[in-house]
Structure formats: C-alpha cells, structure tokens
Symmetry: D2
C-alpha cells in the first residue's frame, strides 16, 4: 500500500468528531494527525480519543503541520469558506462540510480560489461533502437511472425532514443556518442536480412555509416546514419538502419519476431489519437523525476522498455543483419569505418581476 494521507480536521464539534473518527479508524489509507477548534475542551477530548496534535487556531495548524496533505473543514458554517480558501491556497486537499457558505457569492469565491490554486497544484482535490452521493442506495438508484431503466427522469420529489427537537435548538441554529432550504434542502437540491444533470438550468423557484411548532423561527426569517418547487429548463421539475417537525425520526426520501419507471429511495424508512409485533400492531423504529441514516455514506466519503487525493483520481463530484445548490437554496429561501415566484432566463439571469 502507498503512504497514508495526512489529514487534519478543522472544527471538532459533533460532526467534526465523527469525521475525525472516520479518518482515524475507518479509513485505512488515511492518518489523522491534527485537529483544531476554538474550544479547548473539544481539543482535549480529541487528543484523548485520537492522540493527535491540537490547535486553538486554524491558521496555526495550517502553518505548523508541515506534512499535512488534506483538511476536513467541519467548523461552523460561517467559517467554512474562509478556512476552505486558506487550505486551498496552502495547496491542501479539502473536504468541506456542506454548505460552502450560505451565500452564493461566498460559495463561488471558494471555487474561484480552487481554480486559481489548481494552476500550481494540478492534482489538488476540493469537494463539498454531500453525503448522499456516497450512500449505497442513492448510488444504486443513480446507476439504474443512468442505465436508462426509467427512461427520461422528469419529476423529482425529495424531502429532508428532521425529528422534532423541542429544546429550541433549531431556533438558535436558524440565526446562522441560512434558512431551512439552505440547511436541509441543500441535499435534495444537490440530488436533483445529480439526477437531472449538473448542467440543469433553473427556470423558476417557488416556496411557501409555515411555523407549526417553532414560531420563534420567524425572528430569523425561517420556517419549520416548507415546500418548494424548482422548475428546470428542458421539462424537468423538482418538488421539495423540508421540516423540523417529524415525530418518528429522520425522514429523508427521494423519488425519481421517469418516462418509463420510477425509483424510490427510503420511502419506507427503518433503523434496521427488525419488526416488532405488539398489542398495538406492527412497529419498526427509524433513525433519529441524518447520521443514523447516513453513517456508512460518511465513511465511504472519507475513503473515496482519501483515494482521490492519494491516487489523483477525479473528485467524486464537482465543486461548481455545490455552488449551484447554494444558489438554488437561497432563491427558494427568498421565495419562502417574500411569497414571490422567482424566475430565471435560460442564461441563468434572474428575470425582474417588473418585466414579467
């Protein structure tokens, strides 16, 4: 086997620790060498679990870890882009948690930095971690669609619905999340672009939403349930539902309707292969959160990112797609709040309402 990829993780909150674990113990060709976080307690925990070097400052880590080859950016969304760009400019491979930024312009600046850096580092890899692209079921669905099994994919329905968290977490979180379409539906939008083709051009977006369980979300211009429609040029439609209100657990599912068949992913969610027969009927449990649903996908992501870096393989997805997803998510979020349908011409330029 070749040398191991030298990896650092920036931000070791809940998801950052998971990434660290995936790279430290479940990615044979990678070696976790350092982590950074502004929170000393998090560093202590990581040091204890992984025995790695720790830094309070991202810049320090980047400067001092001379053998570092790849950075996983799992810090707060607000610093994703800044850290990603610094790592890119330092010539490191980057796996950045989604979204690149809640702003399309800032997201684009990451791509710009990458394209510029590639001139000096032609084998550099930078991806945005859309975990569903690494999920075995989604891949099976995609393979079948790409194989022509359902004819031309025409209508897409996808939902990302979180289990209700009565603690008020989502209200605080909404201040920086970019809104429910940018935070939740970004996955579904990315899937739509994957299944319909990353060159799909948006014709219009519309969204409406409510606050059924968390009225305080309105303080941050957010909603707890929202539905949206993305119309693409060329006769394709995506229908989205995002929510923070699910009783049973994480409810993510996707359906692709083609001219000759349909593929459904996870429309009958389950935690495992157990069914319980009780006096109240037949019951199964479902995963409480996205990590319960997508853990294996994250591990696959870590391994494939590592392989792409070490063997100079093509990145599993383009970074431009991640910007397109943010752009669509922001348009949906705007429509959600304004109540207006937003239209685009075929060049991608927004059509002014006055001209409609």
């Amino acid at each position: 086997m070749s040398e191991k990829l030298q990896v650092a993780v920036a931000g070791i909150g809940r998801m950052g620790m998971r990434h660290a674990r995936h790279f430290a113990t479940l990615t044979p060709r990678a070696e976790l060498i350092a982590v950074c976080s502004p929170v000393q307690a998090e560093l202590d925990a990581a040091k204890k679990e992984f025995g790695v070097r720790t830094y309070l400052s991202f810049d320090d880590m980047l400067a001092k870890e001379k053998t570092l080859q790849a950075v996983v950016v799992a810090s707060a969304t607000t610093v994703h882009a800044e850290q990603a760009i610094k790592a890119i400019e330092a010539g490191k491979h980057v796996l950045c948690e989604k979204p690149l930024s809640t702003s399309p312009e800032v997201s684009q600046s990451v791509v710009d930095a990458y394209r510029k850096s590639q001139k000096n580092h032609p084998t550099q890899k930078v991806i945005c971690g859309f975990s569903r692209r690494f999920d075995a079921s989604y891949r099976d669905a995609y393979r079948r669609m790409a194989n022509g099994d359902i004819g031309t994919p025409s209508v897409f329905r996808s939902q990302t619905c979180d289990k209700l968290d009565p603690s008020g977490f989502f209200v605080a979180y909404a201040e920086f999340s970019g809104g429910i379409f940018v935070d939740c539906s970004i996955h579904d939008i990315d899937l739509a672009l994957w299944f319909f083709g990353e060159d799909s051009r948006v014709k219009s977006v519309t969204a409406v939403g409510i606050t059924a369980v968390q009225p305080d979300l309105r303080k941050h211009n957010d909603r707890d349930n929202a539905v949206g429609i993305i119309e693409f040029y060329g006769g394709k439609i995506a229908q989205l539902y995002c929510s923070r209100m699910m009783a049973a657990g994480q409810m993510d599912c996707t359906e692709v309707f083609g001219t000759n068949g349909q593929i459904a992913v996870n429309t009958q969610p389950q935690s495992n292969l157990v069914n319980l027969f009780e006096s109240t009927g037949v019951r199964r449990e479902i995963p409480p959160d996205y990590y319960g649903r997508f853990r294996e996908a994250f591990v696959t992501e870590a391994n494939e990112f590592t392989a792409a870096c070490l063997d100079n393989l093509p990145a599993p997805m383009s970074l431009e797609g991640a910007v397109a997803a943010v752009r669509i998510g922001c348009a949906l979020q705007e429509s959600l709040i304004s109540g207006k349908k937003i239209e685009f011409d075929e060049s991608g330029k927004r059509v002014e309402a006055s001209k409609l």
Copy 2:
C-alpha cells in the same frame, strides 16, 4: 327492512356501468330501475345485464320514471351539472360523479339549484362522488387525525397518478377534462379540504408542469405531469402531484404531517397481499387504475348514499366542498398554464397581480 330506494343511472359508459352494478347487486337497500345513455349499444348492454328500463334521453327518463327517487349522474363531465340540476329540480336525490363541472361558476349553479330545491324537498340529498371519502383507509386516517393523534395537521402531500396509457386516450380526453388538476388532483384537493377542514381558505396556489410523454396535451393547454402548492390561511400547506405517466399502475397516496405525528395512506401501493420472489428480486403488483384501488369505496358510497336518502341521514359530505375543490383545481390549472402564482385575500377574493 324498509322499501328499496329506486335508482336510475344516467350515462353508462365504463364508470356508469360500475355504478349501475353497485346499485343493482351490491346495495341491498337500492333497486336499479332505469338507465339512460345516448348510445344504444350501451343501453342494450345494460338491459341485458340488469333487466332495467332504458332511455336514450335523460329528460325522458326523468319524466317517465314515476317511482324514481334517486339519480346517479355518471355521464360525460360536460353534462354533469345540467343533468344534476334537472334531477334536483325534479326533487330527486342525486349522486353526481366528480367534478360537478370543470367551471367553478357552473359547479356553483348546482349548489344554488340544490339550496333552492331543498325548500320544497327538505330531505333531498345531493352529493358529489369523491370516492376516497368512502375508502376505509382514508376514513381510518381521518378518524385518527380528528382524534388528535397527530396533533395539528399542518402539511399535506397527496398525489393522483395514472398509469401511462400510450394509446393517446389522455390527449383526446384533455379536451373536456378541465385539465389534469381538475381531473386528477380534484380528489387530492377534496382530501385536503376534508383533513384541514372544509372552511379552509386558500391564500395562494402555484403550479408548474411538463409534457414528458404526451406533448400533444399542449394543444388542450394541459400537461402530463404537474406539481402544485396550495397555501391556506392559518398555517397549512398542501403539496400535490398529478401525472399520466406511471409505469407500474395507479399511484395514489396521501400523507398528513401533524405537529405530533404523521399518517400515510397507500404510500406502499399493492394489489393484494401477495409477494413474489423471483430471480429478479421481490415483486408485488399494484392496481392498474383507480377502480382497482377504490372499488370497495364506490360500493360503500352507493350504500351510504342509499341509506342517507332512505333514512334522511346527513349527507356524507357537503356539496359546497365540491365547488370549493373545483375552484382550487381551476386556479391551479390556470397557474400551471400561466406560470403565475395566484393569490387570494382572506375573504377569498383574488388579489390582482398589479396590486402585489
């Protein structure tokens, strides 16, 4: 047992013959005495199967059948309202196939005729046949929701998707169907009104659609796949999908998301309780059409309509709701074609685009 309700069926095409059969043989308290159709061959078939009196003219039937108590209007949609009104004015009970009309105004005229007639015939029953209201699964879902099992119902998702018919039937049919939202989604709209309350007031509707398999539908301003959103005042949303493109069969399903739980109806469609294990995997079939899915509901409808007439019970649903459904369906169809979101104020009046 009391006397049997004397019933005639107007229009004995495919669905009319089914109604005739339900009343003739599966509704013990009803007696089918006459049918009418402009098509002699249909009359001959009905005479042979049921031994009933037959008429080429609806008016004749109404005039001559002195003992007639109830009329099932199952003729072409274009004459639903006219025949219903005539029967109403003759003091007959009426079960009219959906929709009352493809026009909200004409639909309203049926209600007006009914309200006027009731002054002379206080026990007269007139209903529009929304079969899903009689389906055991939908009733179970409604009962649970009404019982508070899912908290406040907030988001509603429903689809009515027909099996692909490559014969071109749907193109010809589109000329008079009122469009896919009025023809298919009318059921889903009725369900939304049932679950959210028939007094729900629409805030906006938006729709987009495509012609993925039947481009000729555009001649009749129709589409073969369409998605729509209905926003209600009071924080409720309905999300619709209608299609003529399903490969496997009829794909009708509904989900109601409440603040405390979710109810799903037929999200795993099936023809029966059989599963087949073959070299290609595990397979089950699904009903080819709405009658395969809702046959029992139609029989229940016949029996409950009969009981309501004979025993002067409250009608199973209000006729006003049927008009509201047509109104919403037409607005969605308009939005589908115009590409514009349509908004309403709290009194139900349409908000002019210029004032937006």
Copy 3:
C-alpha cells in the same frame, strides 16, 4: 336475473350471524328465508335484523320450509355432520362450516351421505367452507403457481395464529374444538392440499407443542402453540405453526417455495393501507381476528356457492378434500399429544410403530 336461491342458516352464533348477513344483504342472487338456533335470544336478534322465520329446532326448519333450497350449517362443530347429513338427505344444497367434524370417520359419513344423495339429486352441491379458497390473495397465489410461475411447488409453510384471548375462552373451547391442529391448522392443511394437489398422499406427520400462556389447555389434551410437519409422497413438505398467543392480532400467512420461485401471502399483515408515524416509530395495525382478515372471502364464498347451486356449476372444491384435511389434522393432533411420529404407506394406511 334468475330466481333467488332460498337459503336458511342453522346456528346463528357469531359466525352464523355473519353468514346470515352475507346471504341476506351481500349475495344478490340469494334470499335468506329462515334461521334456526336452540337459543331464543339469537333467534330474536336474527328476526329483528333480517325479518326471517325462526326455529328452535333444525328438524322443524327443514320440515316446514317447503321452498328451502340451501342450508348453511354454522352451528356448534359437534352437530355439523348431523345437520349436514339431514340437509343432504332432504336434497338441499349445503355449505357447512369447517370442520365437517373433529372425527375423520364422522366427516367421511357426510361425504358418503352426499354421494348417495347425488344419485337422486344430481345437481346437489355440498361444500365445506374453507374461506381461504375464496380469498383474492390466495387465489392470485394459486393462479400463479398453477401457471408454473414458481416451477414445482415443493415446500409449503403456513400458519394460523390467533390473537391472545386472556379470558380463558380457548380453554373452554378446547373441549370440543378437536384440538389446535383440527381447529386452526385445518385451514393450512386444506391450503397444502390445494397447492400440492388434492390427491397428495401423506407419508408422515410429526408435531410438538407447548402451553406457554394457557396451561389449562392440557386438561383437554390441547396446546396453545404447536408446530408440525407433514411429509407427502412425491417430495413435498408442509410446515405448520398454530398458536393462540399472538399479541398484535390474527397472524395468518402462507409461503409456497417452488423450484423456480416463491409466493408469499400475507407475510406482512395489515388492517388497511394506513401507516402511522409516531415518536416510537412507524406502526400499522393488523386485523384482530380471522373475520377481519377474511370477510371479503366469506362474501365471495356466499356468492359463489349461490351461483354454483343456481347454475349447476361445479362446486368450488371437493368435499373429499375436507375429509382429508380432518384426517391429517387429527393425525397431527395425535402426534402432538403422543410425541410420536406417525407414518403412512403409499396406500394411505398407517404404518404400525412396531413395524418401523
């Protein structure tokens, strides 16, 4: 339509009332004219519901109802055979509830009476009511198997498991039920004979059982859970499970494994098409009893029996099969209690243990 079949029901306990209802209101070509029961209160209830003539004595009913054409025997199992034979000898069509008797010999005497009577009444129909033969799912399964879809059916697994009834009902019932294999598994045995062919010859039976919830069943030589194996000549095996202990409801299912595929019936039981998403997961209810599962089959049975009588069609199944099922059920019950495997030679004669 032809004249209606004139039907009486003997025994109008729970199941008898259901039969009466099916013939009175859901079988258009039949007319319920009389019922009998030794219990006056039951007669009163039937008179009120159906307006029929009532008799405390079966013999009286048979003697006085001059127009009577068909008798449904739904009385206590102990008098099934006696009443069936009397009705047969009186030239009536008979639909006898299962089992004909808990004794193979007595069961055979019903067949003998029928074969004798047929000389005088060549169009007479006598069937034993194995309701699953009329169930749409079982028929679909049978049709596919008969069509060769699974190759040669070779292994059969079937279970009939009742919901736990903590009232002690099953203990009292066991005194006359013939035991759990004769009472419950008789259906599965009949299905095995249907799917493997009614000429299948038994090579051996073995059974074991326990009393997990109703130890008092041992007083009547019965068990509350039992499993059995029927080995047929020609390389076919049936595997049975019967129980009185189910928590969730009635749990009947069947699988047929062929050399080229497998058919499963009701291995995912459900009451309807509703799924509930709750904080504890996803739940569906299942029918509480066999009538919840097989109501439609009973109605079909009533209609097909009626049609067979009126139109002199072949009976839906042979009466000999009903005797064969009792014979196998009794052998399993004997093995259950004795702990011995019971073997038969190819002529159907029992092989003495001493000769083994």
Copy 4:
C-alpha cells in the same frame, strides 16, 4: 491507542480473503501479518493485496511468526479443529469459522484443548464465528427480548436458505459439509440457543427433507430442502427451514414468538433502501448470498474479537455453545436421513428407540 493485535489468517479462499480484508483494513486495532494456504495462487493474491508474509504450511506459520497473537481459522471445514487446536496449544487467540467440526466429538476436543490451555494462558480467547451474533438487527432483537419486551420467548422460527446455484457446487460441497443442517441451520440453531439460553436442553429433534433441485445430493446423504423441529425442555420450540433453492437470493429470517409479543428479523429481505416501480409492479432486490446480508456483522466480529483479545474482555460468546450447535445439527441431519425422531432425556442422554 494500544498496540495492534498481530493477526494471521489460515485459509484464504473466498471467506478467508474476506476475513483478511476485514482485519487488514477495517479493524483499526488489528494488523494482518501473515496468511497461509496450501494453494500458492491464493498466497500470491494475498501477498499482492495485503503485503503480508505467506506460508504454504499452517505449522510453519505458527512456528515462524514470533509476534503472532491471534489466528483466524478460515480453511476447509475438515481442518478447522486441527488448526484451531494447534493455535490454542501455541497460546494464540483463535477466531474459528463455523462449524468447529462436522463432528460433535471433534468439536468438543477444541473446547477441551481450550480449557486446558487456559490454565497457562488465562486471557486467551477462542470463539467460533457465528456472524449473526454480531449483526445489528439480531442484536437489537436480542436486546429487546432480554429486556422482557415480548414476555417469555417460546416459539422460534428461523431459516437459512441459499440462492439456487445450478452449477452443481452444492453437490460437491455436500461431501464434506456435514449436511444441510450442519452447514446452513447451524446458524439458526446457534440463534435458538442464544435467544432461549445457552443452557437450553434438547428434548427431541425431528427432520424431513427432499431433493427438489439437486437429486445428486442423495449420494452424500444430503437434501436441498429440509425442515426440522427442535423441542427443548421447559416448553420451548424451534422450527427450522434450510434450502439451496431460493430464486431471489439469500433468504435468512428469524422470528421469536413470546408470551407478550413477537420480534421478526429480516422477514422482508432487501439489498438496500431502493424500490423500483416498473410495468410489472414494484420490485426490490435482495442480497445474493450471506456475505451480502452479513458483511457488516463480519466486520463487527473482527473488531470485537480484536478488542476482546487486546483488552482481555469476555469473549462475545462461549465456545461450548458452538459444540452444542454442532451436536443438535448432527442430530437433525441424522433424523433427516433416518426418518426417525430422536429423543433425549433431561441429562442430555439419547433415549434409545427400543425404550420409547
């Protein structure tokens, strides 16, 4: 982290290579250092993939690998016991593929060797790899049962059914497999002992079988479909089905029926979360073989075995249970061929037929 467990794999055919892979790349605390096989081509493949030392002789490997701590025995079943005993006597930890041997006596000799060796090596771990014990779904089922969720587990149904392999592989394999009950059902027997308690005492076993697709199996006293019953003292029953005839793929499932509920594992098999809607209905695929179903369980096994060795944790299961499973499997196989029920007294001694 502590030092890595130094592991060798004996036998690197299909399953041996998988074990090697699991320890080399998916078990962070283990290091694969050597493999052995009598087949040079296998050694070459392993050397290429893992860069490990290779041996044509097991004894050589054991003698020369001075740092070796643990041996995975994945060679032909016929040498399992011999190699396991040698490794045990050399003081190594051992993970032996199932079964220890097809002979109960030989299996017992492995336990004897282990118990003797433990006097000198008190922290030595020896387990037999029953992969289902490491499966997340089975563990969830066990946890619920152990928690009392279904009351007293009383009836157990389990099947291990292989996909039809028309190549004749299973005929050749049968010469050394010990028969279908020892090869396939050994897993179900182990599960029965796990769920009912490893101290469960067998009262009787009975089995019957057929050769529906592979008549040549009779040459090796084997069958391609067999069902069996294990009766335990204390009122518990296990019902087994094993087969080599499945059309769709690997069909393993288990149900545990308790006095208060039921748990089902994998009764609706599936490869992943994808459902396909096609003109023939709704379809899902299922895993083609046990590795498709239990891959994750094998990886968990490798990790937990490693942790048990390094940290001196209790072994995940007792070695005595593995002998008990072989003993029951052999009795079932004997009954399958002889056609006789085999009984045991409460001390575990076989009851002679003459005394029955």
